[in-house]
Amino acid sequence: MADTLTSFDENPHGLVDFPMAKEQTCPFDPPPALKRIQDEQPLTRVRLWDGSSPWLVTRFEDVRTLLSDARVSSNALGDGFPHFNAAGKARFQSNHTFVNMDAPEHPRMRKMVTRPFMVKRVEALRPQIQAMTNELIDEMLAGPKPADFIEALALPLPSLVISELLGVPYQDHKFFQDQSAVLAERDAAPEKVVAAIDALRDYLGQLIQAKRKSPQQDLLSELVTERVDNDELTDQDAVELSILLLAAGHETTANMIGLGTLALLQHPDQLALVRETDDPAVVSKTVEELLRWLTIPHLGRRRVAAEDIEIGGVVIRAGEGIICAADIANRDPAEFENPDALDITRDARKHVAFGFGVHQCLGQPLARVELQVVWSTLFKRVPTLALSGDFRDLPYKHDALIYGLYDMPVTW
């Protein structure tokens, strides 16, 4: 075993540092070192920023097994939890929500906010999401070239949708987009993260009080009138949940729209299939394959073992950290044929880009509809859409919790 490890960049303790760097030449692929680990030592220990040494899980089947094991805990407040960094630790401690809870609290709290994310409720929003998309594309086309695609479409669309759903006035978008961006920064100072959460907490707290006086048809009003007033939630719980949802609605879908569009522009043969089709099934497959191939939550699902767990010939001891690396698991050749090829005609639905187990993404039906609407519309409306400049020179979010692009100049 020791022999195989020497091919990696070792630190003095003999463990590989995690996360590793992506290859400069391919901004879409997971770090090459992860592929080697998956081939040679799929369950291994790595070293994190704080000197801790959690387990790294790289095979698709092992990732699914552990993420659906009740002995695997999401509790980020105790010892052993492998935090992303000091900022991530500060974030979880300040904004404590069901993301970092286990049963029985997790399902109880998650259920408070499931309604608006149901498949049928989200489908009913599709015409509205389509209208928003059309309008944003119109505005982009009416403006100067090149345009920043992130600013023109990738960020405003999910931001508009989640604001509408929660009942947060979109006119305040500059404020909550900026605060959400701080939460996603990997190397932000912990105080900066706590300050951003405090600012969101003040803002959403006041908004929730206003909803109590004059409730509307939105999730924040529903939380107050149906949950807090029935003593199922405290005011504080409602505020923490709304911070989570507002931030989660921003950090993820926006990056997926940006990076996914770039991936299609770099694969013109596949883009042509999307542009030429009127079949929703083709678009839906495209969305699933891009979710798999890009796996933008690129730093792994973080957990801690609550009991000893035997898996793949190793024993993960109670109290040891676990990182399930979904990005490389979604490239596992045992699960996906020719996994490094982007192939929008494959059936990729089983990917773990939304996680797996009880914490699997709550917003996935919404994210899917947004992505389907964007990619079924964009290339038809703007058939000449092209990147302005070299894709290798773009500002990739290597330093963020969710991978994507800071900006992306496009022309047409």
Binding site: R110, T114, F117, V119, R349, G357, Q360, P365
Partner: protein, 64 residues
């Protein structure tokens, strides 16, 4: 082929409703409901896929 679900385990991911909308639906809280307990053989592919991708392992396909 008979479908059983363990509704208390459901985490409202909506995956089954997306993959097999003729067989599964969600109640007002997003929890899975079975629309068709004895789906036609033609549904086998999507039903088995739903069971396989269900993040909560809450769907069972039973052969009587």
């Amino acid at each position: 082929m008979r479908i059983e679900v363990d509704a208390p385990k459901c985490v409202t991911s909506g995956q089954c409703v997306m993959i097999a909308p003729d067989v599964f639906d969600q109640d007002d809280d997003g929890i899975v409901i079975v629309l068709d307990e004895n789906p036609a053989e033609g549904q086998r592919g999507v039903v088995e896929e739903s069971a396989a991708v269900c993040p909560a392992a809450a769907i069972f396909v039973i052969e009587d």
